[in-house]
Symmetry: C2
Subunit: 507 residues, 2 copies
């Protein structure tokens, strides 16, 4: 069947919405990287106007009419075709977008805009009370948002769906239960053996310019090219861009640790996912990564599975030693490798190691459900601190290092946090398939070769964009639904070797 004119019209409308979405991303990127501070007021107005137009254009009645008229065309098509996928995914996006009144959307956005600067100050002052009324407003609006949708198994399902479509709270809970059962005792063992690893080699002053040069060297090896990528500094690293040919990473300038490099590798993972979406999906709702969980699987893969692996450091360590001879000239590779993988309690999620990181996430996931269930928000700091003590064994010294550390809740984002750990879990499921497909993967890393991994990921994951659901996408690339066991195996084996903990053959 030839594509009906309604399909052409739909595609053209969606292409315009996509162009405006890309433009919005550029407004944000510029705001974070290049804009003089004096441009802030105008920028907020520009972003506000653009968001409104994008939304209005997308929820237009005509889009619904077109989708309706295309049902028989859709049925005539192969499920996996670009055309069927476009109609199917757009229909779901449209139905979700239409459920939320424009006024509520505006109110949520305004409430978040009010709360974020208050959060910023409250964090500086470690003053949760200042944020409380704003947080309360955000959360009330989120409950109204949930009420816009058909009742789900659990209210949290509705919020989670915005970031990991189709994922149920119960599934996340099961995954996280496995992590708790398996990793909490393991973490305790690592903590007991803290003296096995000397992290003092990572202390000192590291010239930020040299860190940037090293990061660029690694990016070049990974597949960054000036033709299609850029790298800039920001306080909080992120990945953005306007198309597969214009990918923009940012990293942070650090003086007292090596985190520029790890942050850069993390953002490369996000960027390379977007760069690998099939060009024919661009300018459509299918032209980006499918979910936050899958996205985070890619960033965590390049940061940790590649960037904190022994083969990678066999390749890079001589250059690191040359770059910082007074720090590492007399440190052997094994000692360095132990230090960058050390399992240590920490208060701040983004400073956490690969293992404890998940418990920073799990505690937020559990608190978010309590919040939705009606928890008195005044008790949130206490509940937070209790969980940190339970999971990480440490006493939170103040709310700045506790409940106030992340901006997500002040920005109104509930249901977002779990995707960080889902990404970890998924990354190893995919990794095991990549290792099967490329048996000499680690030998390649030792030689500084990363193109085969990147191209395998492109072929098996990145190119699909949003054509399929996150679950379908995971099945395609990993051959199985979400499963925490490979991730637990990976952590126990890697950290077991470092800490001298014998690990059973299989979990």
């Amino acid at each position: 069947m030839d594509a009906p004119t309604e399909f052409t019209e739909l595609k053209e409308r969606l292409a315009e919405v996509s162009d405006l979405g890309r433009t919005g991303r550029l407004l944000f990127w510029d705001q974070q990287t290049k804009m003089p501070p004096g441009g802030a007021k105008a920028r907020a107005e520009m972003i506000g106007t653009l968001s409104k137009i994008v939304h209005t254009k997308f929820i237009d009645d005509r889009v619904g009419e077109l989708l309706e008229s295309l049902r028989s065309y859709e049925e005539s098509l192969d499920y996996e075709s670009d055309e069927a996928s476009l109609i199917r995914v757009t229909r779901l996006d449209y139905e979700k977008a239409r459920r939320v009144p424009t006024e509520l959307r505006a109110e949520m956005s305004a409430s978040a805009s009010r709360a974020l600067p208050v959060w910023n100050q409250a964090k500086q002052d470690s003053d949760f009370g200042a944020l409380l009324p704003f947080l309360t407003e955000n959360m009330e609006l989120r409950k109204q948002y949930v009420a816009c949708f058909e009742p789900a198994d659990e209210p949290y399902d509705v919020l989670l769906d915005d970031f990991e479509r189709g994922m149920k709270t119960a599934e996340v809970r099961e995954v996280f239960q496995t992590l708790k059962d398996e990793l909490l005792p393991f973490i305790a063992e690592c903590f007991d053996r803290a003296d096995k690893v000397d992290t003092s080699v990572l202390e000192g002053h590291f010239d930020p310019d040299k860190q940037l040069d090293l990061s660029k060297f690694v990016l070049d090896r990974f597949g960054f090219t000036a033709e299609r990528w850029r790298l800039d500094y920001t306080a909080h690293p992120f990945a953005s861009g306007t198309s597969t040919g214009d990918i923009r990473l940012t990293t942070h300038r650090r003086e007292n640790d090596l985190n520029t490099l790890f942050a850069t590798m993390h953002e490369f993972g996000h960027g390379v996912y977007e760069s690998g979406v099939a060009p024919e999906l661009e300018r459509s709702p299918l032209g980006s990564g499918v979910s936050l969980g899958l996205h985070e699987s890619q960033s965590r893969m390049w940061e940790n599975l590649v960037g904190r692996s022994m083969p990678f450091w066999r390749f890079l360590y001589p250059r690191l030693q040359q770059t910082f001879p007074s720090h590492f000239g007399n440190v052997d590779l094994e000692q360095f490798y132990g230090a960058i993988n050390a399992v240590r309690p920490s208060f701040i999620r983004i400073d956490a190691d690969e293992v404890t990181y998940n418990f920073h996430v799990i505690l937020r996931f559990e608190l978010e459900q309590e919040i939705l269930a009606g928890m008195d928000l005044a008790t949130l700091p206490e509940a937070w601190n209790t969980k940190v003590k339970e999971y990480l064994g440490v006493d939170v010294p103040d709310d700045a290092q506790g409940v106030l550390q992340d901006m997500h809740w002040s920005g109104g984002h509930i249901g977002y946090f779990p995707t960080y750990s889902l990404g970890n879990v998924i990354s190893v499921q995919i990794w095991e398939r990549a290792q099967e497909a490329i048996p000499d993967l680690y030998d390649q890393f030792e030689r500084g070769e990363f193109a085969p991994l990147r191209e395998w990921l492109r072929e098996n994951l990145h190119r699909h964009g949003r054509k399929f659901t996150p679950q379908e996408t995971l099945e395609k690339v990993a051959g199985a639904p979400i499963d925490a066991r490979p991730y637990v195996r990976y952590l126990k084996q890697k950290l077991g070797e470092i800490y001298g903990i014998s690990v059973p053959a299989a979990v």
Copy 2:
């Protein structure tokens, strides 16, 4: 009278159009300065979609209804009020925008997009024949554009009006006739006395980084602050920005001359005009400079009336000597001042001195009128070369240095060129008023003080934005309609001193 709800609605609609316009400027700025080359295709799509939406929103029937319903409100207001000005200027913008069918607009834009890359190649190959069919198409479309409007005194009036609203071709002709009468003989005298000025001191290699540092030093003195401005490199310098708090200049990287500094001062003039528009006019059609002529008066003022003046160089020359000691250590200020003001024949407009520059413009103005009158475009190179010989006394060696040097015609812009010389003329009319208001202006320059000039310009010109017509604006700041005589006086006095030509007391 309280503002009627229609006024509020109009303002809100215009604010959105303005936000999208600012966004379009950012897309262009980013494209020229930061975008990886691989983003080109997506960027063209983004700009195309945004332009279409801006235009559609502005020419909406509802805007016309609102303007119509606001006639009695407008009449109740003071002519100079922001409200009356907004209605008046928007009505004129709207009537002009509605006259041109969307298809013709799209065709003009597409034709220019086709012609520009061909021009680029044709210039490299010095092959006018390759460009001819594309130029012919551009010009035919321009004639169709002219036909959309009520017949004017001359067809050229319609095109000129897009860049200098209200200006008539006959007025420009009169101004340019004065320049021809007065300056052509004067230029001949300067050429005869070429040995009075030694320009060889400007030859050599000038470290681009040092030129940039010097340019930034000057910008800081002029009023550039990191809070509200940026400076980047591009092949062709320009000024842009998104608001009075976000002004973005670009300059070019030069090795074989000092043009980074002069280009930077030029763009500062454009930028400071936009930065000085009254904040209450922002987010409306009134929130920018009023015309290209007035804009160019500001860029040429900071480049030439300030930046090529003796008092300015009394301030800066010691620093220039320190920056480039091997070039200028043994060159006295008078010699340097003569060199940067030397009157010399040249083929390329943007390399021309203050005096001959105008004849590069006048010849294009005259040719454009012949084109509209039906000239055979195949004869354009010959006609060009004849005029260069007549006005500047030199033989054009090839079309790359002749008719192919500028992109304007290939971009479809006819009626734009005259504003370059109108800017020169206007700049001195304003300058004379500034000198009356600030009697020690030149003493201030010698001390490196430029804020009083900048603030006088803001108060008397910049803040008005587009509230008034270019003619009304000129009357406000200069107290007179356009008049070439002050400019001629200025040139003859300045260059007369340098070349030892005695000048009559008044023109």
